[in-house]
Amino acid sequence: MTAFVLYARSRVLPATLAVLLGAALAAAWSAWWLQGQPGFDHAARVPVVVLAPLLTASAVGTSLYTHSDELDRTAVRPWWPRRLSHLLMLTALSTALLALAVPGHPDAFGAPAMVRNVLGATGVTAAAAALLGARLSWLPMTVYTSAVYLAAPSVPGGHAAIWAWTMQPGPQRAAWAVALAAFVLGVGLLAARGPRAERRGM
């Protein structure tokens, strides 16, 4: 029974990995099915590219919850390197799995758009874990995604590339800039501060 196994179990990492894998399989199947519908082409994969990263980011965010916050604070080693590697490893895995789920058409809603959305969603969720607590960390990104999904214009680019970055095709630079900034800030904030302490039973 190694320390790594104890840490992984205390952060429900086995279940989180199962969710990541399940999300990737579901995304691959949905993308394939949507493209195959009469009158639809690869552009019909938008919902997959927007929703699958939301699901994996939520799983990653809630895995940051610790049941033993008060005892964890007495740890001899600083927590930030562990939190940082926890986030980076899970992000790398979600990115790789989901990128494989949408093959082809990198200039539209393919792997590049998927990678960008995974990074952005994970960043927003990590920031939410630092500010709201890990168990509610999925909420802001879910609300934001729902709003943008309904409000984003059908023509990409312009201001929408910034405020509706999740709905942009792969090569939009502004959308990449927003997603990367969210990732760096969110991961940095979470690593430095840790998930906000939540009182149990409240």
Binding site: A3, L71, T74
Partner: protein
Amino acid sequence: MTTSVTVRALTVRHRRTVALNTVDLDFRTGVHGLLGPNGAGKTSLIRVLATVAAPAAGRIELLGRDVGAHRERAAVRRALGYLPQEFGHYPGFTVREFVSYVAWLKEMPAARVPTAVERAVERVGLADRIDTKMKTLSGGMVRRAGIAQAIVNEPELLLLDEPTAGLDPEQRVEFRALLRDLGATSTVIVSTHLVEDVAAACQEVTLIESGRIAYRGTTAELTALGGEHGRDSDGNAIERGYTTALRAHRASLAEAAR
């Protein structure tokens, strides 16, 4: 005996309220009781000594090291045991896994962990439940698992916040014996609102009220204070001593305020 805890002008704040107000304290090897009404500042003091909360002002020296410095704090934490009033635990862990997890937090050498975990669990009388999942344990058993994690690294400084909450009378008697045993070599600070725990297990008593030290003395002195005043119907001698000391402190504060 050396002084293992030195606290000078310690002030702790929770938002705008002052939990501890310029407190000076020293603790040596032995078992020390921390008594006081609810909200007096006992938990604040324990949390600051456990290095999980930062003071607003003051200096804290634990085991001869200033905990303000990062490297020193890490060294202190290796030799520290802490039972919070409410400690969380991953519900899927067994007692063995939970105590091993804390041993890992304390950076105990991996080769020593299995034996240390078994010994700690045995000392709190949970050996027959060591491979039981934490979520299936009763409240008293969870509390004992909590005590086991606090002593797994054989701490030089042990901080226990309401350790007897949820223990039945027999377990409390056994726990007090464990405290006396631990106090022979370590500094043990027990925060409690149960005066009888202090009478049975502690050599010295510190009484805190409203963030200030109301009384310090040996358990025998506090009991003697109760013997001089009041009747048996007002509780046993140490309970009367507790009340007398608290009222004397309030009277002196009122006098000073006039």
